[in-house]
Amino acid sequence: MTKIDIQQLIDFLEESREKSSEVTLTDVMGLAEVMTGSMGDIIEHIQPAVTVELAEIGAEIARMKAEISKLRVADMRDNHIPDAGRELDAIVSSTEEATHSIMEAAEAIMAADPEDIQAYQDTVNNQVMEIFQACAFQDITGQRISKVVSTLNTIDERVSNFVERLRLEQEAHNEQGGEETDEERRKRELILHGPQHKGEGVSQDEIDAMLGDVQQDDIDKLFA
């Protein structure tokens, strides 16, 4: 190890110390890169094969650093994900407002006095117009949802590329029996699946059949 190598190592450590007290993956990789580079001369004399290995490790680390920078984690954390959250909040808010307006109008129609035909007709017409206007929320929420989908696609693309290029093995969380979280346990124990997509789940007719004609023995057979 030459004086230059040692100085490089010192510079790197001092620079890292000044930046932050937290050690990041990038710091560790940077340190490994400097170390492998600085030890090259020493090991070259001992065993040429080790030199080749170290060079390959160094190249691999450099490649990983490049891939991590392409992932643009800070961009996802600071921009894409908060933006998507704001869009979803806006969707919840606008659908709630629209539903409220529609229900207000419907309730006004229900409460209108049909004895006075002209007044009743005016009320119905005005409230129907309110309902039409409130339905405009669908256009805006559609655009907001498209933006969220676009964000998810961007994140998916970046992470997928990262995993692929680093040749990381896909983590089969469920198959390997990863530890169940409290939220997952609650959902399992209380049978919380949420709404099903079209064609999934059972229909009202099927439910009626299950509750009406099917006996307990038939239900028990489903579990056998």
């Binding site: 709630e96 539903t99 409220h100 229900m103 419907a106 309730e107 229900m110 209380l190 049978i191 919380l192 699946h193 949420g194 709404p195 099903q196 999934e200 789940g201 059972v202 229909s203 009202q204 439910i207 299950m210 509750l211 307990q216 239900i219 489903l222």
Partner: protein, 127 residues
């Protein structure tokens, strides 16, 4: 048996809009005494204070779900006979079977209409 339109009905849902929808549908069907609760815990407390003729409950609520409320009601000697209809988006077979085993009187999958609600209430009181 004719439906008693004056019987008190408890609607349990954590979405105010859904409570409002069910309230209006029940009003349209002629029911006049409608109360509501935002989750199973509040509903159970209300049920201990007042004798309801029917409970219409959502499944997925926090902290106590409609499924837990159903099981608790059926285990309570004073409340176990209360007719209980589940109105929920949970439409997996295992949900229906679990509700049936827990003693639900009927099960309506969301979204639903006034006719379905009316039909299920009538079916519960025809049994």
């Amino acid at each position: 048996m004719a439906l008693d339109l004056q019987m008190p009905i408890l609607v349990v849902d954590d979405y105010k809009t859904m409570i409002r929808i069910i309230r209006n549908l029940l009003k349209q069907l002629g029911f006049t005494d409608i109360d509501d609760a935002a989750d199973g815990t509040e509903a159970y407390e209300k049920m201990k204070q007042r004798r309801y003729g029917l409970v219409i409950s959502d499944w997925n609520m926090e902290p106590m779900t409609g499924y837990e409320l159903l099981k608790q009601v059926r285990q309570d000697a004073a409340l176990c006979k209360t007719p209980f209809i589940m109105v929920t988006a949970e439409s997996k077979t295992e949900n229906v079977i679990a509700a049936k085993k827990a003693g639900v009187n009927n099960y309506i999958v969301k979204p639903f209409n006034a006719q379905t609600l009316k039909g299920k209430i009538e079916a519960v009181f025809a049994d």
